[in-house]
Every structure is written in structure tokens, then in C-alpha cells.
Subunit: 253 residues, 2 copies
């Protein structure tokens, strides 16, 4: 099936899932923002409000933008691989910068308020996830964007890159849940069980984060929704297969 | 490549990853048991020790046994599909019963101690994960073990079953992390930041749970480690393909 411009049509249900993921993602951002402004006093780079920069930046960078970066190869199905790579890479540039601001915000806040760093499970998971994300980012940049790397190296690394991309995205969501839990137990050390509105908002945010993660993972993992090779990539793939008989095919991205 | 009995050899590195996953899984069980006995007084069905049954049962049932059930189709590569299904189903029977004991333990403990139920993000995630696990368990039982269901229905549901199986396993690990965090913040409301030994053990347990989940997910998701069809299944698959031209092939499990 082709559209009016002669391009192959994508899977029928894919757009519904993509729209659903964006509704969930925007709800996550809106609720994080509303929680920090309505209940926690808003944002600033000084004083106690500096902490609030941390959850918002981490959710925008490590969850929303990373999730959307995973979708690029499913949404831009008919663009060239070069274009999809540039969009994927650009989203990760913004994701990394915004997440870095979030990391700096919490360390700077702890330093000014003389609060110990790196003692909690949230902080351990967070620093491991962020460090591995940076490593994955650098390796991805070198392997997929530098012109000197051979197709066979790219092909061999690709499945690892996809697996660790999804894994780090899931870890970012897990770390966010731990952060929500930590914030709620610090805020309501004895009255969390009274179902205060702020705590229920935090719980709901946790469930929305999980729903966003599940929908994104489903779109990325579903085999028949993978980006098909364009005709010129197919030809290249056949050449590569012929040249390296017995080696893996570059396959789909 | 075939072994001395003429059966095809599995992928070379798969056994190392499987052994690694079991070492991590057993470490998770040992540390959970050690935490509850050494720091929390051990196990009983009455009094304050009843709570300790909950984390141990949930980790054995929803994490360790569910993780191992996911591996069955990779480890028993040369057994018939019937045998692998029975092993997979049996592991899930034990997983469900043990997890159910863990769920009953915490509700019964709360009731006796007059502690509110279902207010925390951990409890929301836990009850959703356990309920969906039960639903997946029932649907899986009906679709894959009842003789009346057609191959085409089994084939269509299979990829969803695998996706939700891995998702629920990941959710069980995420819920365990929230449980660890909750326990540590209730135990150390003000001195978690002093790096007490029990809290560091809890943090380490969290990282081991993540490592176990990542290794299991990697083994299950890796395409070239999927269970190959046996010769008789291949013949059946070809018949089915011919009969339902245009429909999906049963493929690999």
C-alpha cells in the first residue's frame, strides 16, 4: 500500500500508539511541572527551590526526550537513514544537556544546603544510568555518525545499541519512580498513609511514567513496526551480504 | 554444529549468560534472606516478623522464578515445545503461589497491626503488577495449554505474551526497588545519609535486582538466541503458512 505521494504506508495502528505515547509523555511533564509549582513553590537556581529543577529536567531529558528519540526510527519511516540519524542524535543532544542541568542542580543544591550526596538507592541508580547513558551516547556518536566506521561494525553494534538504549530508558523511569518515592517519604514521613493530595499526585505520576515507558517499549520492540529498508539501502544491504557471506545482515533499524 | 548425540549445539555464549543470571538471582535471594534474618529478626506468621515474609516471597516468586520461567525457551532449546511449555508453566505455578503467600502476608500483617493499605506508590505498582500477572497467567494457560485453541490464535497471541511477560518481570523488579526504598526510609527516616550498613545492603540488593533483570532481558530479547524450531515444528509451520497464506508464521518461541 502506498500513499498519494507513492511512499509505502506505515502500519495502520502505529500512529495511534505514537499519539498515545505523546499524550502520556506530555501528561508526565505537565504533572511534574504542576507538582513542583503548585505544591513545592516553583523553580529557581538559588535556595530551596533549586531542588525542583532536578525532577523536571530529569523527566524532560532522560524520560520524555529519550523516549521520543527511541521512536524516531518508527515515526520517520520513509526518510533516509541520514535524516533519521540526525533527528535521533539531535534529540539525544537536547536530552543530555537538559539532564546534565538536572544533575548539576541537585548536586549544587546539596552542596549549598550541606546535604550528603550519593547515599540513597535513587542516587546510585541515577548516577549509574546517567553515566552509562553518556557512554552509550559517545559510542553511538562514533559508530553511527563518524564516516570512517565500516557498515559491518555498525551492523554488529546496532542490536546492542538498541538493547542498551531501551534498557537505559527503562532504568531512567525506574530511577524516577525511586525519586518520587523518596520525595514523598521525606515530605510525608508519617502521614503518607492519610492519602494526602500531593502524595496521590506523585503516585499517579509514577503510574503515568510506567505507562509511557510500556507504550514506547512496545512501539520500539514490535517486529513488524520496525523501519523497512529503503530501496537504495536494500541494494547496499545485498552488496554487503554478498561481500561478507556468513556475517550478519544490516537488517532493519 | 551438532553435539555427540546429534542435537544442534546452542549459541556459544548463551550458557555463560545463563550461569551469570543464576549467580545474580541466587545472590538476590541470599541478600534478601540475610537482610530479613540478620537485621529484621527473621520470619514468622505472627507479630512484627510476619512482614518479613513479604519481601522474601515476592523476590522468590515474582523476580527469581518469573525470570527463570522466561529463560526456559532459551535453556531447553532441544526439548519438544510440549516439554518446554510444561516447565515454563510449572515455574509460573510455583511463582504465583509463592507470590500470593507474600501478598497475603503483608495484607494480614497490616490488618493485625492496623496499618493502612494501598496508599503508597509501591503498593499501587505491586497490586497492578500482581493482578496483570494473574491475568497473563490465565490467558497463557488457556491459549497455550488447552488443546482446542488453533495454531493461528496461538501464533497471533505469542508475541504479545512474550512482550507482557518481560514487561511484568521488569515491573516486578521496579516494584521491588520501590519496596526496598520504602523499607529503608521507614527504618532510617533521618540517618539514611549516614550510610548505615543495613541501608547499603538494601542499596546493593537494588543494584543486583537490576543486574539480574538486565541479563535475563538480554537473553530473552537477543534474536539469534531464540529457540529454533525442531524439524517436526518446521514442517507444521510450513503447512500452516501454506494454509494461511498472508497470515503470520508461528516463527520461533
Amino acid at each position: 500500500m502506498e500513499d498519494t505521494l507513492g511512499r509505502p504506508r506505515g502500519p495502520a495502528w502505529l500512529p495511534c500508539y505514537v499519539v498515545g505515547s505523546q499524550v502520556l509523555g506530555l501528561a508526565v511533564l505537565a504533572i511534574t511541572g504542576a507538582w513542583m509549582t503548585h505544591y513545592r513553590g516553583g523553580f529557581a537556581w538559588e535556595g530551596s527551590l533549586q531542588f525542583n529543577v532536578h525532577p523536571l529536567c530529569m523527566v524532560i531529558g532522560m524520560v520524555f526526550l529519550c523516549g521520543d528519540a527511541l521512536l524516531v526510527y518508527r515515526v520517520f519511516r520513509n526518510e533516509t537513514k541520514r535524516v533519521t540519524k540526525i533527528v535521533h542524535g539531535t534529540l539525544h543532544v537536547f536530552a543530555f544537556i537538559i539532564a546534565l542541568i538536572g544533575v548539576i542542580a541537585v548536586f549544587d543544591y546539596h552542596k549549598k544546603q550541606k546535604i550528603a550526596d550519593m547515599y540513597s538507592l535513587h542516587s546510585w541508580c541515577g548516577i549509574i544510568t546517567f553515566t552509562l547513558y553518556f557512554v552509550q551516547w559517545i559510542i553511538g556518536l562514533v559508530v553511527f555518525l563518524f564516516p570512517g566506521v565500516s557498515i559491518s561494525h555498525r551492523s554488529r553494534y546496532k542490536s546492542l545499541h538498541v538493547f542498551f538504549g531501551v534498557t537505559l530508558f527503562v532504568l531512567a523511569i525506574g530511577t524516577s519512580l525511586l525519586g518520587i518515592k523518596e520525595k514523598l517519604l521525606f515530605t510525608f514521613p508519617s502521614d503518607y498513609s492519610q492519602f494526602p493530595a500531593e502524595a496521590m499526585l506523585g503516585n499517579a505520576l509514577g503510574l503515568l511514567l510506567i505507562a509511557f515507558g510500556v507504550v514506547i517499549a512496545y512501539i520500539v520492540i514490535r517486529d513488524d513496526w520496525k523501519r523497512p529498508l529503503l530501496p537504495e539501502e536494500q541494494a547496499l544491504s545485498m552488496d554487503f551480504k554478498t561481500l561478507t557471506e556468513g556475517a550478519e545482515s544490516p537488517g532493519e533499524q
